[in-house]
Every structure is written in structure tokens, then in C-alpha cells.
């Protein structure tokens, strides 16, 4: 076995993967006939420089932290949760139902925690069925979670175009939730404290996401349950031998994973938009896979990777304005490349770097 020093494993390799992905994307830009460096500058300005840009970047970062953590928690148990997209979608339904039922009278401090719990519960629920099938019927969780993305999407269309459709609207979307249910915007808070901050959709879901990161770190590396989870992920026979209840752990890990994905909904529903619109997770659940891979499953890495993807998404929208030939889908391309390089081709560079560092490569 070839092993790299930790810094190479956790810093060098992810950076190399990022550089490669950006390099290939740059070649595509070049082929289109634009200057890649110019495109890069546009994206960086779009992500950080313009008024409110950083706020938008962090708003997207929030989504990616949740979906990235969701993928990572499951992955520590060697479970591949591809259903983040559907779980986030259903999470929106959970929070929405709480709001629709209670927001006419319940004050915010009570309502918001309940709505957050609703999002987590519905996300968990949507992960629970594939988890139960995997744990007790041996159904491949990758396939079932993919199927549940589609089933969830169908269900949400039916609901948003049916019973929950806002009256007097032709678009399938819910009504807006009451002001009491909304998470405060960061710019409102900071402005009230006397700072002058441009408005952006960044809201209190962001610190909640950071708290979730800390929570996941404690859970995975500092609890006995987390030890059992990692043991199961590394070797199921050893876990069975140790008396770890594997089936129950699968269900619990997936429920937590689904709940984290479901929490993504609070950023949009309770934060930015105040309503559930058709297809609001818009691929962020899938981006969570890239975030988790690049962040190497560690909360700190996930925050950094989520920030990177947040910047890419926000910067990507700027491409639409600046170029007629390049669109924000460029970011999807980069995302695909990052998943390819840091996930599927993860082993490609190891022997090579290992030699470069003067370490003997294994047979």
C-alpha cells in the first residue's frame, strides 16, 4: 500500500484535482474562443467583489455544506447516498407543512425550530425507506436512492401543482410562509448593528450549517456511535464481530444523512425565498457528492469545498452577463470534472506523487 503524508493527502491532492478540473475547463473556454483567464477573473469578481457577491457566495456555500455533510456521513458508513437531491426536496415539504399548519399564530422562536425539525424529519424519512431496504432486504442503496430522487420529484410536482399550489398562480409553487417563520437575513442583522452591508440572500441558515459541521465532527470522531459507524464503514465483518448492530447503524446513518440533506431546504424556504418552488434543490444535492469527495469527508474540508463551490456557482452566474458564448453551465462542467478527478480517478496520482516525494511506491 502506498501511503502519502497527511498534508499531501488532504491538501495537495485536492488542490491538484481542482487545478486539473479548472485546467480542462480552461481548455474548453479556449476552444470556444474566449480567454480563460478573463473568464476566471469574471467569476472571481462575481463571487467576491461585486456588492453582495460574497453574501450570495456564502448563501450557496450553506446549501453545499448541508448536502456535502449528508453525503459524507453516509460515506463514513460506506453507504453511497445519491438521494440528497430528493431528500432536500422533501425536506422543503416538511418545513413547509409545519409553516402552513402553524404560521398563522405561532411566534417565530417556536415556529422556526419546529420548521427546521420538519425539514430534517422529512429528509430523514425520505432516506429511511432506502436505508431500511438496504439494511433488511439487501437492496442496493445507490439504485434505490436514485429511484427515490425521481419518486420524490414526482411527488413534489403532484403536491405543488395540486393541494399545496398557491391559489391564483399558474406556476406550481406554494404560498409564502408568514414573516414569523423566516430566518433573519445576515445583512439585516449586521445593518442593525451598524455595519453597512449590501443585501443578499445569506441568512441564519449559514451559522446553523457551521454548527452542523461541528456537530458532525463530534459525532463521527468523538462519540462511540461514530467509532462504530467508522468501523462498519471500513470493515463490515469486523463490525459484526464487534457486536455493532450493522442494520440499525445503516438506518441511523442514512436518517442522519437524509436529515442533513433535508436541512438544505431551510436555507431557501425559511431563508431566501419564503416558499417552496418547483425543483428548488436544482442539483445542489448532487453537488454535495463533489463537496464531500473534495472535502475528504471531513467537516473542515467540507466547509472549504462548499465555499469553493459556492464561489463557482455565484461566479458562474456572472458568466451569463459577461459573455454571450459562455454560460453558468460551465460550473456544472467543472463540477463533473472535480468529481471525476477527486472521486473516480482518486488513485491516479497517488503513486506518482509518492515517487515525487521520494517515497517508495508499493507494488
Amino acid at each position: 500500500m502506498t501511503r502519502l503524508p497527511a498534508w499531501a493527502d488532504y491538501v495537495l491532492i485536492p488542490l491538484l484535482n481542482l487545478a486539473l478540473a479548472l485546467g480542462v475547463a480552461g481548455l474548453v473556454v479556449l476552444a470556444i474562443g474566449e480567454n480563460p483567464l478573463h473568464a476566471m477573473r469574471v467569476m472571481i469578481e462575481g463571487a467576491f467583489v461585486y456588492e453582495g457577491a460574497l453574501g450570495y457566495t456564502l448563501y450557496y456555500t450553506t446549501n453545499f455544506i448541508f448536502t456535502g455533510l449528508a453525503v459524507a456521513v453516509a460515506f463514513h458508513a460506506r453507504l453511497f447516498n445519491i438521494g440528497g437531491e430528493g431528500q432536500a426536496y422533501l425536506g422543503g415539504l416538511g418545513a413547509l407543512l409545519v409553516c402552513l399548519a402553524l404560521d398563522s399564530w405561532m411566534p417565530g422562536p417556536l415556529l422556526i425550530p419546529l420548521a427546521i425539525a420538519g425539514a430534517a424529519a422529512f429528509g430523514a424519512l425520505w432516506a429511511l425507506i432506502p436505508a431500511l431496504l438496504q439494511a433488511y432486504r439487501g437492496s442496493h442503496i445507490v439504485i434505490t436512492t436514485i429511484m427515490f430522487n425521481f419518486i420524490g420529484a414526482g411527488l413534489m410536482v403532484a403536491v405543488l401543482a395540486g393541494p399545496l399550489m398557491r391559489s391564483g398562480q399558474s406556476n406550481p409553487e406554494s404560498r409564502e410562509v408568514a414573516e414569523a417563520a423566516r430566518l433573519p437575513f445576515i445583512h439585516d442583522i449586521l445593518n442593525a448593528m451598524g455595519f453597512d452591508i449590501a443585501s443578499s440572500p445569506l441568512n441564519l441558515a449559514f451559522p446553523i450549517a457551521l454548527l452542523a459541521c461541528f456537530g458532525v465532527w463530534v459525532l463521527i470522531w468523538r462519540t462511540r456511535w461514530g467509532y462504530a459507524l467508522r468501523a462498519m464503514g471500513q470493515s463490515e465483518p469486523a463490525a459484526v464481530y464487534a457486536g455493532i448492530p450493522v442494520a440499525r447503524m445503516i438506518v441511523a446513518a442514512m436518517a442522519i444523512s437524509g436529515a442533513l440533506a433535508g436541512l438544505m431546504a431551510i436555507n431557501t424556504l425559511l431563508g431566501a425565498q419564503g416558499k417552496v418552488v418547483l425543483n428548488f434543490p436544482s442539483g445542489f444535492g448532487f453537488t454535495g457528492i463533489a463537496v464531500a469527495l473534495m472535502g475528504r469527508g471531513h467537516p473542515v474540508g467540507i466547509v472549504l469545498a462548499a465555499f469553493l463551490f459556492g464561489a463557482l456557482f455565484q461566479g458562474g452566474t456572472e458568466l451569463d452577463f459577461e459573455f454571450t458564448t459562455i454560460t453558468r453551465e460551465m460550473v456544472l462542467l467543472i463540477q463533473g470534472l472535480i468529481i471525476l478527478f477527486s472521486g473516480a480517478l482518486a488513485l491516479m496520482f497517488v503513486p506518482w506523487i509518492s515517487r515525487l516525494l521520494g517515497r517508495e511506491g508499493g507494488a
Binding site: 395540486g162 460550473v331 463533473g336 468529481i339 473516480a344 488513485l347 491516479m348
Partner: protein, 322 residues
């Protein structure tokens, strides 16, 4: 319902099922060799775009088909490079290909045509025409057979016929040829194949290349035979339904074929029952019908109608040295 109605429904079923059949056969060949193919959707999308773009630029459907085959095989090779050569995670590689395809098609579409990711609408000459089989007019009045021949059998585009032919071809290839014996062996126990002096790597590469070719035909069907140009996210989950059909058919060509027809029938039928009150259940929302293939596959995977046994070595990269 008249005989003619039935023929018309089956006709549209076959049309809807065509990309499913081709992609499911692609998945079957790849997975029988032990390589998971979640990337069917991406290959379908990318080849639909390539076909439409090439046909739009050259005015030839045949060039379009070639382009579709080319890009699809290229993505298969990327998958192979990651999963076979570098022993990467096959599921992750498939997801990467799907996301890459959805980004790349729009980026390239905008760069080439400036129509928001679509290709221009294709003229008749740049598409595969319907093929009128002999006798479809003259025999039209023959009872039973006439409508059957005219509505169901005749009048499809080339990829539809290729899809139907792909099923016996894949069956023959896998169960009646040396290549097929080896391919199935490599999906069950690659070390036995290696020990027999056969290259595991090359076998698996050939399997993913065949999968690429089949997906390429499916993509061409979407954009230059069934449709008249490419629109964003044109594959719309068909690659995943094909994956579901492949599992539903338990990795066996004829069973997979019927699963595709069943799923195609549900989709074709969904449009017809919209707003219609059915006996017993009343009015069924179209979304419910559209998710039935996924629900059915989940129920199958749960082991409620027989166990679906995947090839033993599916998803496991072959490592010679430990």
C-alpha cells in the same frame, strides 16, 4: 378500445421504449462484464447533443449518428479509464459523467449556436426519416394484420429498428459467442479469466465500448430521429429508467426488453389517461404514473418479486496483486 387503438398505443410504446431498450442493453453489456454503468443518462444526453449539433452543421443525419457514437464511446472510455485502468469508484465515475454531460452539452450548445443551449431545428434531410415498409399501404385494409403492419411495424425510424434488433443481438453475442462467454465470466470472476490467460482489462474495455455505441444510437434517436433538434436536458431521466429496466429485467436481454416495453407503455399511457377517470381508482395524476417504473424497481429490489442477482463481480475493480 379497438384493434387499431391498441396498435397505436403499442406503436407509441415502442417509440418511447426505443431509447430505454438501447440504453438498457448498453447497461446490460457493461454490467455483465462487471462495470456498473450509472452514466447511461450522461452518454444518452451527450450523444443526443452531438447528433443534433453535427446534423445541424453538416446537414447529414449519418454524420450526426457518427458524432453521437463518437462522443458516447469517448465518455465510455473515460469511464473505462477511471474504473478499469485506475480502479476508481464506478458509481462516482458514472455520476461525474452525467454531470459533465449536462454541463458540456449546454456550454457547447451555447458556444456553437447561441440559442440558449438548443440546436437549431433540423430540416427533414438532416434527420432519419420514417421507413415505410413494403405493403404498409397495400395491405392496410387486411383485417388485424393491416393495422398491425402499418401502425406498429412500419413507419419507424432507423434507430427504432436497431433497438429491436439490439435485443437478439446482445443475447446472441453474450450467450452464443466466445466473446460473450468471456464477458460473462469476467463479470462473475475476473481472476478466473485472468488465470485462463485472457486480458480482463481489454475485455472490460470492449464491453464499455459496446455500451457506448448502443447509447450513441439512443442519443441519435432522441435528437435526429424522434425529435428535430436538441433541447437542454433532453434525456430527462431516460438513462435512469433504462437502468431501472435493466435491473427489473435481472440483467437478461429478453426480460430487460419487456421491462423497457412495460415502462414505455406506462409513459405512453400516462399521456392518455390524464384527466380521465379510471375505474376503481378514479382520476390518477400523471406524475403518479410517471414514477411507477421507479416504484416498481424499488419493489423489485426489495425482493418482493424474486431476487435480482447482479453479476458477482459487479462494481469490483480487478486487482491482480494484493
Amino acid at each position: 378500445m379497438t384493434w387499431l387503438d391498441l396498435m397505436l398505443i403499442l406503436d407509441s410504446t415502442l417509440r418511447v421504449a426505443t431509447p430505454l431498450i438501447l440504453c438498457a442493453m448498453a447497461g446490460l453489456v457493461s454490467e455483465r462484464a462487471g462495470v456498473i454503468d450509472i452514466g447511461l443518462e450522461g452518454k444518452l444526453l451527450a450523444s443526443a447533443f452531438a447528433a443534433a449539433a453535427a446534423a445541424a452543421l453538416t446537414g447529414s443525419a449519418w454524420v450526426g449518428l457518427l458524432a453521437a457514437l463518437g462522443i458516447s464511446v469517448f465518455l465510455s472510455l473515460v469511464h473505462g479509464f477511471a474504473c478499469i485502468t485506475h480502479k476508481g469508484e464506478q458509481i462516482i465515475s458514472g455520476i461525474a459523467i452525467n454531470i459533465l454531460a449536462s454541463g458540456l452539452t449546454v456550454v457547447a450548445g451555447v458556444a456553437l449556436f447561441r440559442q440558449g443551449g438548443q440546436t437549431p431545428s433540423l430540416p427533414r434531410e438532416a434527420r432519419f426519416p420514417s421507413i415505410k415498409l413494403p405493403g404498409s399501404e397495400s395491405l392496410a385494409d387486411v383485417p388485424w394484420f393491416g393495422p398491425f403492419w402499418r401502425e406498429l411495424v412500419s413507419g419507424h425510424t432507423l434507430p427504432v429498428y436497431l433497438a429491436v434488433l439490439a435485443v437478439p443481438f446482445v443475447w446472441w453475442l453474450l450467450w452464443r459467442t466466445r466473446f460473450g462467454l468471456r464477458l460473462r465470466a469476467v463479470g462473475e470472476m475476473p481472476v478466473a479469466v485472468d488465470s485462463a490467460g485472457i486480458s480482463v482489462t481489454w475485455l472490460r474495455y470492449r464491453a464499455v465500448i459496446i455500451a457506448g455505441l448502443l447509447c450513441g444510437i439512443a442519443g441519435a434517436f432522441l435528437s435526429i430521429a424522434h425529435g428535430a433538434g436538441f433541447v437542454r436536458e433532453m434525456s430527462a431521466g431516460k438513462g435512469y429508467i433504462a437502468l431501472a429496466a435493466m435491473i427489473f429485467g435481472k440483467w437478461r436481454p429478453w426480460s430487460v426488453f419487456f421491462a423497457c416495453l412495460l415502462f414505455g407503455f406506462l409513459e405512453a399511457g400516462a399521456a392518455r389517461i390524464q384527466g380521465v377517470a379510471l375505474p376503481l381508482v378514479g382520476e390518477v395524476p400523471i406524475e403518479v404514473v410517471l414514477v411507477l417504473p421507479y416504484v416498481a424497481t424499488v419493489i423489485l429490489l426489495a425482493g418482493f418479486f424474486g431476487k435480482a442477482m447482479p453479476p458477482r463481480a459487479l462494481g469490483v475493480p480487478y486487482r491482480k496483486e494484493r
